[in-house]
């Protein structure tokens, strides 16, 4: 079995046992439960290849999500309680582009004999095919249209998701050995079983636009949103005339309006029966549509329309908001005698879509003509027939469809292997809880960096992607804002804890507290994972839930010492540099490559995690000088520089007792405006050279 699949299956168990990490809210909110904290952390370290690897483990088509995901993770992000959420989707886009996702080739071996048919090639179908191939099944995708992708191709406009991205993923699937049958509408499931397929996954999407049910809806000049977008996306250029109205407030309405702008319509108005606050479309979508000149009319609904003189005359009624409905949105109520008339050339209806399931499938349908399935196993009323995606949920997001496809693949595997379905148990160890006001007060407010956008005037003319990619520095800085929820400190060894209150006194965020019973508690939902208490704890009872600090530095240090010993360059200088913000491998590593052969960089994840032992070890193994370089006051955590200096003073005292000059240990603040770090480093190297010489002379005099 493929590693990726194994990883996914092991994921749940790993989450429970791996480290003691709690699952952060972003991961809980993600339909695919991607390890968001993990890859954001890797981006913050500039480790873009590793970040992409983590992303690929949790997502079959990260490049697609990087463009169109509605990022429920960002809505759940706890940084929004302090300032603004991390730009997770944009960071994923960065990792996908800079990590070279399109270069990745995937292969899959056929290890099973049961053939599986996937009906529909939308995101759910593609994801299901992907995972079934990874599990070793022969898979055939049946697609009614001429090209694969479903809504990815016919629903989402190019400016949001370029076609090449879908093409790349489809090519990858073909390379994995998925059989593709386009222009093939499946009319009977029995036929598929007769053809030898042992299981079928129905994922035909929800392409049928809902009708408004008003007089004149059939008039020429009225087109439904799904059909309009399909025509546009398949390269047709429907003629719209000068003035276009779009009825609806969802993403399809936004897409239709923005596509109409790009097709050259002079004036595009959105008619929505509630107010902006109730619009289901993503806020960014609405914002970008407005920027492109789309006009909005709220609290209006068409009641009838008539074609005359080559134009559409539309009668609308004004609405007001009444009581909230089941979904919590306020219900629009028509205001009596408030009808008025407007004229347009074209009217696009986008008030919702539903699946259209052939009766010959003999599937039990539920509300809104969706297929009824068991939510856990995705089984339908027919044996061997599974269903997922919009056909089951009604119009939903791409990520939800991918999750549903993945779930289907694993349930089909269970079914074909005659296994009791491995049901995801209720996840333990989820980080919950709001940040307390006093924690929020101490969290450094750092502005959210948005990726650049094409200027509106450039957008309106063509279907090019609107959003551009971060540059390296912006991505790293944005990722550094992550609060690392769920990775915080915990007292692992309660028996060692001497209740000395050190953690309580050193925590910049005032998180640890003395509980009534006299034990120290470190609430996981408040901890900012700066690691200061971990290093300061005199009993060594505290660890970070992500156990990278101590061991990680040990390993990096030994590696640097070994390499240094091999190179025999003198004098040996070890530099512990913060890896966040690229200092370890970026700014300083480049200096060191430029001929400063004696300097070896040990990347650490925040210098606050550096222990005295690490520094003493560097000296013990022959370092003539050691420096610590962190981001100083630019650190995304509070007070780290203070604690580094405390430890430095202690070590300097020990050095002088041993007979070494205390100035052999230096600290540098990277990212400060004053002083050139390269020059400071040069001076330091020179000084160390001088000290070495002096000690040699001293020894010779002695002997």
């Amino acid at each position: 079995m493929d590693n990726e699949v194994k990883n996914y299956q092991a994921n749940r168990m790993r989450e429970a046992s791996h480290g003691r990490r709690l699952i952060p809210p972003c991961q809980v909110a993600c339909p695919l439960h991607m390890e968001i904290g993990e890859y954001v952390d890797l981006v913050a370290q500039g480790k873009v290849l590793e970040a992409l690897q983590v992303i690929r483990e949790g997502n079959p088509f990260p490049s697609i999500c990087a463009y169109v995901c509605t990022h429920p993770c960002e809505d759940a992000c706890r940084r929004s309680q302090a300032d603004k959420p991390i730009a997770i989707r944009a960071l994923k886009r960065f990792a996908v582009e800079f990590g070279g996702d399109r270069m990745i080739e995937l292969e899959a071996e056929t290890t099973q004999s049961e053939k599986v048919a996937v009906v529909g090639s939308g995101p759910a179908g593609l994801a299901c095919a992907y995972y079934l191939r990874k599990l070793g099944y022969p898979v055939t995708i049946f697609e009614a249209y001429s090209e694969l992708g479903g809504m990815l191709r016919v629903g989402i406009p190019q400016y949001r998701l370029p076609r090449e991205v879908v093409d790349t993923e489809v090519q990858r699937l073909i390379h994995m050995g998925v059989e593709i049958k386009t222009n093939t509408r499946v009319i009977s499931l029995d036929l598929l079983f007769d053809m030898g397929y042992k299981a079928v996954f129905i994922t035909v999407g929800a392409h049928q636009s809902l009708r408004m049910g008003i007089e004149g809806e059939e008039s020429p000049g009225v087109i439904d949103g799904a059909t309009f977008l399909r025509e546009v996306n398949l390269g047709l250029k429907p003629s719209l005339g000068e003035e276009v109205a779009v009825v609806g407030g969802g993403n399809v309405a936004m897409d239709a309006a923005r596509a109409a702008v790009r097709l050259g319509a002079g004036k595009v108005s959105i008619l929505y029966r509630r107010s902006r606050a109730e619009m289901p479309a993503g806020p960014e979508e609405i914002e970008q549509a407005l920027e492109e000149g789309v006009e909005t009319m709220f609290l209006v609904a068409p009641t009838k329309m008539k074609r005359g003189n080559g134009r559409l005359s539309i009668t609308c009624i004004k609405m007001e908001l009444g009581e909230p409905d089941v979904g919590g949105r306020r219900r629009p109520v028509p205001i009596e005698d408030s009808e008025f008339n407007m004229e347009f050339d074209t009217l696009i209806t986008a008030i919702g879509q539903a699946p259209q399931i052939s009766e010959d499938f003999r599937l039990r349908l539920g509300r809104g003509s969706t297929i009824k399935v068991d939510p856990v196993t995705l089984t339908t009323n027919r044996a061997g027939v599974f269903a997922g995606g919009d056909a089951v949920t009604g119009p939903a997001t791409v990520t939800q469809a991918l999750a549903s496809g993945r779930q289907a693949a694993f349930r089909i595997d269970d079914y074909l292997r005659h296994r009791y379905p491995l049901i995801d148990k209720e996840e333990k160890g989820i980080l919950s809880g709001e940040l307390s006001p006093k924690t929020i007060e101490m969290i450094r407010k750092i502005e959210r960096l948005e990726p650049p956008l094409l200027p509106p005037e450039a957008r309106a003319k063509e279907f090019k992607p609107v959003e551009l990619i971060y540059n390296w520095e912006a991505a790293v800085d944005e990722a550094r804002r992550c609060l690392r929820c769920g990775m915080g400190a915990e007292i692992l060894f309660q028996d060692k804890c001497a209740t000395c209150l050190t953690c309580l006194k050193v925590c910049p965020y005032h998180v640890p507290y003395l509980a009534e019973g006299g034990t120290i508690q470190i609430p996981a939902d408040q901890c900012q994972a700066c690691g200061i208490c971990v290093t300061e704890c005199p009993a060594r009872a505290i660890v970070l839930r992500k156990p990278y600090s101590r061991r990680h530095i040990d390993e990096e240090l030994e590696h640097a010492l070994k390499s240094a010993a091999e190179s025999k360059s003198k004098p040996l200088i070890i530099g512990f540099c913060c890896q966040y913000g690229l200092f370890g491998t970026g700014a300083l590593a480049s200096l060191w490559r430029e001929g400063k052969a004696g300097i070896w960089i040990v990347p650490v994840l925040c210098v606050a995690n550096l222990e005295e032992g690490h520094i003493l070890r560097a000296f013990e193994m022959g370092a003539e000088g050691v420096f610590i370089a962190g981001c100083g006051e630019q650190c995304s955590r509070e007070n780290t520089a203070f604690w580094v200096l405390q430890r430095v003073e202690r070590i300097r005292k020990a050095l002088s007792q041993i007979g070494l000059e205390p100035e052999r240990l230096q600290t540098f603040n990277l990212r400060t405006a004053e002083g050139d770090i390269a020059e400071e480093l040069d001076n330091f190297t020179e000084r160390i050279g001088g000290l070495c010489l002096a000690s040699v002379i001293k020894q010779e005099v002695k002997s």
Partner: protein
């Protein structure tokens, strides 16, 4: 709590000279709290000693480290039996009590002190400790408003303040509060200033025999006939 501080590195290096294998033994109670001999300090000392050895070029010692919950009871030391058999000496970072208990528990092995046991006190703030009790065995805090003149007055006088008090500070150290001024102010606040007007006769320290022992258990015979 007992407060101690680690001995200077030179002194520690000097006392371990005769021994090749040295166990650095931390204590997880008082000296952990005061940052003198907990697991973190043991590890720091280990690193520092290894560095010193590497720099001086005479690499003869090998160090191991371990920290027990408490050194001042035999039971906590049982886990050390195997480790102790492998070393030539124990450098205890426990207080003076710990050193002695370890020595008593392991009679065949030299036990050396790694810290100077300083006083009984409290943490004033992170990294600062103040003495509070001299364990004189005759507590007078009821008369002195809960402020001990024995420890907190430089002279330890029972009838203060002396003429050396100035602006509430002590003549011996102008950063140090005069204990008797503190006592006066607190008595005033408690409306017990009459306690200042009494004379306390000098204490006779000779009546306290050393070493002291406290026996709490009653002197009853044990055996089957009882109860």
């Amino acid at each position: 709590m007992i407060v101690a501080e680690q001995k200077p590195l030179e002194e520690i290096r000097r006392v371990i000279v005769p021994y090749e294998k040295v166990l650095l033994l931390g204590c997880g109670t008082c000296v952990t709290v005061c940052g003198a001999g907990g697991e973190r300090e043991v590890s720091f000392l280990n690193s520092a000693l290894r560095l010193a050895q590497a720099k001086s070029g005479d690499g003869v010692h090998s160090f191991s480290e371990y920290t027990v919950k408490r050194q001042c009871d035999f039971e906590f030391l049982d886990v050390l039996v195997d480790r102790v058999n492998e070393v030539d000496a124990i450098l205890s970072l426990g207080c003076g009590i710990g050193v002695q208990v370890v020595a008593e528990r392991f009679p065949d092995i030299p036990v050396l002190p790694g810290v100077n046991t300083s006083f009984m006190g409290m943490a004033k703030e992170w990294g600062v400790w103040d003495e509070r009790c001299a364990a004189c065995g005759d507590c007078r805090l009821a008369e002195t408003a809960g402020i001990c003149p024995i420890t907190r007055c430089t002279k330890g006088i029972l009838n203060g303040p002396c003429a050396g008090t100035k602006n509430g500070k002590c003549e011996a150290n102008k950063d140090m509060d005069c204990a008797w001024i503190l006592i006066y102010k607190r008595l005033e606040r408690l409306q017990q200033l009459e306690k200042m007007r009494r004379y306390y006769p000098p204490r006779n320290f000779r009546v306290i025999p050393r070493p002291r022992r406290i026996v709490m258990k009653a002197d009853v015979e044990s055996g089957e006939d009882n109860g």
